[in-house]
Amino acid sequence: MAGPSPWATHLSHAGPCSLAALRTAWLRYPNLLRRYLFSTDHKVIGLQYAFTSLFFLLVGFSLAVLIRWQQAYAGQPLPLLTLLVGEVNAPGGIMLPEFYNQLGAMHGTIMVFLGVVPLAVGAFGNYLVPLQIGAPDMAFPRLNLASYWFYAAGGVVMLASFFVPGGAAMSGWTSYPPLADFAPQGQTWWLAGMLLLVLSSLLGAVNFITTIVQLRAPGMTWFRLPFFVWTQLITSFLLLLAFPALQAAAILQGMDRLAGTSFFLPSGLMVGGQAVDVAGGGSALLWQHLFWFLAHPEVYVLVLPAMGIVAEIIANNSRKPVFGYRLMVYSIFVLGFLSFTVWAHHMYLTGMGTTISAIFQATTMIISIPSVIVLSALVLSLHGGSIRFNTPMLFALAFLPMFGIGGLTGLPLGLAATDIPLHDTNYVVGHFHYLVAPGTIFALFAGIYHWFPKITGRMMNETLGRLHFAGSLVTMNLIFFPMLMQGMAGVNRRLWDGGAIYQHAEPVLYLNVPMAHAAFGLALVQVFFIVNLFMSLKGGRRVTANPWEATTLEWAAPTPPRAHGNFDELPRVYRGPYEYSVPGMDVDFLPQHVPDAKAGA
């Protein structure tokens, strides 16, 4: 990692953060490794998660840019490509389908399991949950450390798989057998990586739930928890109870690949005209049920923490309490429960009878209601506010309509009849990218801009932030809206040539070119962010402990919070999380830990 480490700010609580300071610190603390690499402090682990997951987001994004380039210019040689990805993957500058399929599968996997979830839960959750509930640390600091290292190991395994013979996994992030059973070695690496990641999530989930149940500060009753903490709690339950299904599935697929079993292989398979030499009797659909039993709850894992971040930022920057706090909490409970009951809406076209499909269509429609409630509540929260449009707020606000488009496009997919033409088309790809990219990723950006001053004591640059915001908003829509149009026209996903071979794709094929350019544009505007992030570490405007005049407990801790312990003295909580603009007060915010309303200032 180039530039000074942000952990450097933890070295001394007051001292300036510079390379020189780092050097003296190194001399002072010969066991730096133990302090900053194997620390059990939730804040250090949170930052480790943050940087690792940002790195993986960047990797996942690079793969996506290659995907977009390929779909626009399939078959056209680009010598630079050979330089980038090697002769094996793109001989003569032409990307091989083998490699294209690796890009798709690994982009999905990396974004979901190594990028967004670790950033949303591992980084934001880890750093903020103990602070927001007024705890000195997580309940199990050493498990926390283990969780990070399992995650890092999983990431290394996944990245390494690109370099094994045959390349990385290439059967989609969904890894449907029999295809995945027959795929080259990379698939085994994928399974091993997934098992490590599952382990990491399980440890994390146990830790989060225990922390939230046990370590709330005195006075921090359940309904005084910031909404963000609620989202982390539900998310942890989803991780805890849904991931084991994938764990089981990965074990079974591993057995199929390594021990020659046929859990997912029915009798009588023939590949390339040759009978497959296995016992048979397995079921290909078994995998799909196990996979989606995890993967549907997983999509709410992607979005719940994002909703939490957005709620915090909207309350803070509209200077008023969120609308319907309790209703929002109940809604995400319902969302959590229901998310275990909709998985087969990914499988309508596997041959489903009326009864089963009716059940899953009904649960799918029902689950959209709590999302509508939460989103409406967030929009309504703005009513009567005094809205500050700073960078975090811009990202948080943009989350709402973007999530709206993504969520609404889920409805035609959720009705089995309209899923017939849309299933496995780019409409699906557009649907979920609206939720995860300008949705979740925007929320995560918002979170980074918002909590950066707490972590470092410095502000990020506002101009660069706005450029980053505007650029990302425009380019993201230019990439993902055309996907919806292409999908409606019947263009499938996962096509090496972007659909060029198909007649029905012809009317919308031209869109691939602007989509590719927009992807390059999106990459370019990220430079504003990366520059801003590293520049502000050293050169950002210095701020006090509570620059946003916020009410929740993390802002009551010193900036940066104390290593091992967070607070100078554990806080006591007197009220709910969003007491902004309380009538009859001079200042417009009343922090949770301040005993007397008059002392609010």
């Binding site: 029999p178 295809l179 398979l269 209601i369 309509p401 017939i420 603009s581 417009d588």
Partner: protein
Amino acid sequence: MIEWLGMPVGASAHAVEVDRLMALVHWLMLVMFVGWSTYFTYVLVRFRRGRNPRASYHGVRSRWSTWAEAGVLVSEVVLLVFFAIPFWSRQVDALPAEQGSTVVRVVAEQFAWNVHYPGPDGVFGRTSSDLVSADNPLGLDRRDPAGRDDLTLVNELNLPVGRPAIIWLSTKDVIHSFALPQMRVKQDAIPGVLQPVWFTPSETGQWEIVCAQLCGLAHFRMRGIYRIQTPDEFQAWLAEEAKYLPAY
């Protein structure tokens, strides 16, 4: 609405229903999106700091949002109960009688669609994996009396218009997905499962069979041709093809 969505032409009897539901959902989505966006824009302008320096602790008090949410729920229930579920039980779940329908087998493999007609006797000949070879991808047993008149083709499917078509779908190797966009038909071909799909073509034309499920390296070009012909053309075509049958 349906014209704006840019779907491919709908050329089967049930396409109308699918498209109607598609249009209805998209109307619902549009109304919701425009409604919320308008309100959203309004609050952003009205309650910006410059205009409203002091926030109100209580915010909105009216209950209309509850009504809006209830409205969404009701619309979804209507779409589900009156459109989506009946459609499925009528169209997807219930097969028409084999008499009066054109019955075809389609066997997917990496990366081709093998099409099998039962011939004039209406009975599919025996197939066996032992007989599978490059020029007999279906492993059809031509010595079986029922199999002598069977037609087999690769990546080519012909069907008469106006008559239900039943397609028995299966796959030899991995999962594929048999999609006829203009028929509003898509069905995964799952190994080990024999799955029927049916539809009634309502317009003649020539289009493409699409593989919709990632099935390996050449997934992107696992394409076939299908033709919806007039009954006469179809009969003529059958007769023409029968001429090339091997003699036994």
